[in-house]
Amino acid sequence: MTMTNKEAHSDIEELLPWHAAGTLSRRDTQRVEEALARDPELARRYAMVREELGETILLNETLGAPSAHAMEKLFVKIDAEPARKPAASLNLGARIAEFFASLTPRTLAWSATAAAVAILLQAGLIASIVIREKSAEGYETASAPSTNPGVGAFTIIRFAPQASSDDITKFLQANKLQIAAGPMSGGLYRVRVAATELPKAELARIVKKLQEDKVVGFIATTE
């Protein structure tokens, strides 16, 4: 069954508001544009639609905005809500989206480099231990640095977005740091500052010192 001209015209005419607002599918946009090109009366009516669009926007824009108290009211209500469990309920897709959104393009660029640096450092550390162990003729000192990533003193670091991979490499080397994990959500890295556990005061002193480096955007102690 084919549509009559009148029906087809009406169908296209109904789409004009969405065409003016730019919210039609590509296919419908093409249909409307073709109809507008061959039908001057439809084009005249489209001009009316565009007028309506402009004035509706203007009308809404003159409606003003809520007072600054609106957000306060909202957070008073949110504060009265029961405490929420951590983001355990987030699905995998949301977590992946969350992770990538937390990284700026530049961060993303050096994340790969930082990961490579971490692997190199780790390889270097393992190699040095192997060499030392070999040179000790099978004798292993009790104080040999552990390569167990779970042992030692750790901080959580987010590197400054403007820091280059060179800056980060130098920073890690200069301070004898090892990336143990990351990047985690929010672009954070778990960084080992010592191979053995340190007293809290000592760890705090190290964190304070590292914080002064321009490469560090955020740093905190962690278990």
Binding site: P17, P66, K73, I78, K85, S89
Partner: protein
């Protein structure tokens, strides 16, 4: 500059991130407010309602499945809240609204046209549309919602969305004609 998407903000809100809630609120509260205000026609009520709308967003963020845009989802919540508030509204306020809709016959059409330019008359006519027509016009023209999205927000079939918009525009032409502006359509 990178902007965090609404979907990511919702995921963070589901995890209890208040900062993400602030960002989402800052991004959308004015449009949600205007949508609600056009429905309830009372600034104080509209302002109260937006905190309710965003509280629902806070509560339901974990259930958001991304089947529609976040802004579409929020407008659906806003519409539900606005209609519920209208049902609760005392008769006195309803009478005030009805009074707003009554046409001013003090000026004949020619005088009215002389006083105001065509654009102003058109805006006035937009204000005189029924709530049902106003809603669809705002969603299409101001909130830039597709046929499918309007259908989702209002809860009607897509074909009905198109015909409702068509008749809202026809009514607009009639209102303009009453004010001395003949658009030659319908």
């Amino acid at each position: 500059m990178q902007t965090t998407s609404d979907e990511v903000l919702i995921a963070r809100i589901a995890g209890g991130d208040r900062l993400a809630m602030q960002v989402l609120f800052a991004r959308h509260h004015v449009r949600v407010y205007r949508f609600v205000l056009r429905l309830v026609r009372n600034e104080a009520t509209a302002e109260d309602l937006i905190s309710d709308v965003f509280l629902d967003v806070w509560r339901q963020a974990g259930k958001f499945e991304g089947r529609s845009a976040v802004s579409t989802w929020m407008l659906s919540i806003a519409r539900f809240k606005a209609l519920s508030a209208l049902r609760r509204r005392p008769e006195q306020e309803l009478d005030d609204d009805t009074a707003e809709q009554i046409e001013d016959h003090a000026d004949n059409p020619e005088v009215a046209l002389a006083k105001k330019d065509k654009a102003a008359v058109l805006r006035q006519a937009l204000g005189k549309l029924s709530a049902e027509h106003r809603e669809v016009v705002d969603l299409v023209y101001y909130h830039e919602k597709s046929v499918e999205e309007v259908a989702g927000i209002v809860g009607i079939p897509e074909a009905t969305v198109k015909t409702r918009m068509f008749y809202a525009r026809k009514k607009l032409s009639e209102l303009l004609k009453e004010q001395g502006i003949d658009r030659g359509w319908p």
